[in-house]
Subunit: 373 residues, 2 copies
């Protein structure tokens, strides 16, 4: 047979087992488990790898099975979690904080800890796991934005850590930066639209819609966080910018990233309904900025701009005929300007959010980290 | 100090030596040598790697120095080659065919053979080198388009072979495909503009220029091969398409790639001046196609289209608002449609030709192959 993705040249490889310890068995964790399950054949045949999920850990406790948790049990546990229940109460689950849960497990070079949480509480455990020779793959941006001294520790074994899905989800932004650095070409500037929500907003503004109208629309459609200020504040983009800047070589801390929120200071303390009601006050100002950009032959985008000396997140008028200027909708897009590529950047574009595409980045990283060991 | 690209977290790594054997010390070979030289610090500090060029080989003979050829000697040899002279006549050079040259060298796991030639004569030596445990990095498309049985052999140790720069030069097209496959997401379709020359042509046609006019312009500017039919025939794009199709998992041979040349059969036997003189006969036909596409809200592109069952290279009207439809000029651009990404593909764009950007792909591969060993 000659099925796609199964070239017989690779069928003879022996299998290497990777024990996957999953922190945060929520929606992204579920997508990772599903993808690992559906890709068993390809991982065995193409890469000689066998991934076994040996533990599911949340903030309440954990489930563990050193030989790998059975598929049906994983499905039940994920359904349990989705119904709002906790791992400690799942059949066979144990109550423990994340630290005890992790120390109860054999974290050794055959393990890979996958962080699908959204908390910076996992950072010390990721550092510790790397110290024990385990791999670490994180979709959680916060550990990569920890104090630089700790970041340095995590990057001591760069082949053991994967964080592709922290920027642009499964779209290979992190790899592309790594590839350019490894090639010896020099990065000059990185510029990117790194928020699907804000991309949707900017496209709406460009079409002539009012700021308040597009924000309300995005909120209603569930494209924003329950409090839209979590997106409009730019912090999520700032974290992604810091991750790229550090990977390039900066020693920046979060405080070094200059962030322009898309609402004024005085809007920060309002409760959500009052905030939504106050939005039209901003319509004129943003309409003006969009029109000014248009007049200059440019397009207004919410971008992360990273260069040798700075890391800035905010509104920027970019050339209309550039990749960023041509972008519309919620895709993420990053332009890498380098010495050799000159004024025509290397560009990567794709969906930057969503459980399934985030899982694509995680599982891609798992394979890379497993093969590097 | 805190220079970019030199995070002190990586300064303690020990150095691993990689002996680089360069086939084809021409313009691309020169760019590779220059990039390796200028990136010594970053390769040592980031990756713990030390690349030594131990041999320069052309079809006449070779120069070799087991401890690494001195920088000044490399420069002289490359200048010698550029002046049209041969390696066998260079001071210290030996006359030999490529086979004898390679067998005179220690090709072992510490070596990496880099193919910067444009001939399929290197294929058996690449296979042999891989068999001896050496790495292989090729910018030469022909070995990757060899009979499938031999291709299979080359891919037996996929971590040891790099061919990023065969498609899109330094722009990470090959890696992105590998990344998606490794993630377990399923590729549905690959569609890409893979020729800078034909991209320039299509942009010209879209602007309303005559076919003959744009071809003559590109020829004059040196954007085409001396015989423009080498570009217009589509064979270069066909090779790239075959490489992507095989990497995805097909067992296709060159003959399975359907190629539409941008000139009729009867133009193939003309000599170059007669061919150039006959071009205006084609203007009406291509203008009609461009206008028809425009009428349908589409843009005419010369693309490689790869799916589960076929590999086709030729003209195609694509949605004007798609990444390919928005492309203008000579950049390469590839859209990867997958099950998980749905109708919004992962997109990679960048310069796809040129000595320096090709070297970016080669050196990036060298690092990856060296780290995988």
């Amino acid at each position: 047979s000659n099925a796609r993705g199964r070239p017989d040249s690779r069928e003879k490889m022996t299998s290497k087992s990777v024990r996957v310890v999953l922190l945060g068995p929520g929606l992204v964790g579920r997508a990772v488990c599903n993808l690992l399950k559906s890709s068993r054949a390809i991982h065995a045949q193409r890469h000689g790898l066998k991934f076994d999920v040996v533990s599911l850990i949340d903030s309440s406790g954990y489930l563990a099975e050193s030989k790998g948790i059975a598929d049906e049990t994983i499905s039940s546990a994920l359904a349990w979690k989705q119904s709002g229940k906790r791992m400690k109460d799942f059949q066979g689950g144990s109550a423990a904080d994340m630290k005890s849960a992790l120390s109860a497990l054999d974290i050794d070079p055959s393990a890979c800890v996958v962080d699908c949480t959204g908390t910076d509480a996992t950072t010390p455990f990721l550092v510790e796991s790397l110290g024990k020779g385990a791999g670490v793959v994180t979709a959680n941006k916060k550990p990569m934005c920890c104090p630089f001294e700790m970041y340095k520790k995590m990057m001591e074994t760069p082949t053991k850590i994967g964080f592709e899905s922290t920027v642009g989800a499964g779209t290979p932004v992190v790899h592309t930066l790594n590839h350019i650095i490894a090639s010896g070409d020099k990065i000059v500037k990185i510029q990117g639209a790194l928020s699907g929500t804000l991309g949707y907003l900017m496209s709406g503004l460009q079409e002539g819609k009012a700021y308040s109208e597009v924000v309300k629309e995005a909120h209603k459609l569930g494209f924003t966080e329950p409090d839209p200020r979590d997106d409009l504040g730019g912090m999520d983009v700032a974290r992604k910018a810091l991750i790229l800047s550090r990977l390039w070589g900066s020693h920046f801390e979060m405080k070094d990233v200059k962030v322009e929120p898309l609402f004024p200071e005085r809007f920060a303390s309002l409760d959500i309904p009052d905030f939504m009601a106050a939005l039209p006050e901003l319509d004129e100002e943003y309409a003006k900025q969009v029109q000014q950009a248009e007049k200059d032959g440019k397009a207004l985008r919410y971008v992360a701009s990273i260069d040798e000396k700075s890391c800035v997140v905010g509104l920027k008028a970019v050339e209309k005929e550039s990749p960023l200027g041509r972008l519309s909708g919620s895709d993420n897009l990053v332009e890498f300007y380098t010495e050799i590529y000159g004024n025509k950047p290397v560009v990567v574009q794709g969906a930057g959010a969503g459980d399934a595409v985030t899982a694509v980045g995680i599982v891609g990283d798992l394979v890379r980290v497993a093969l590097a060991k």
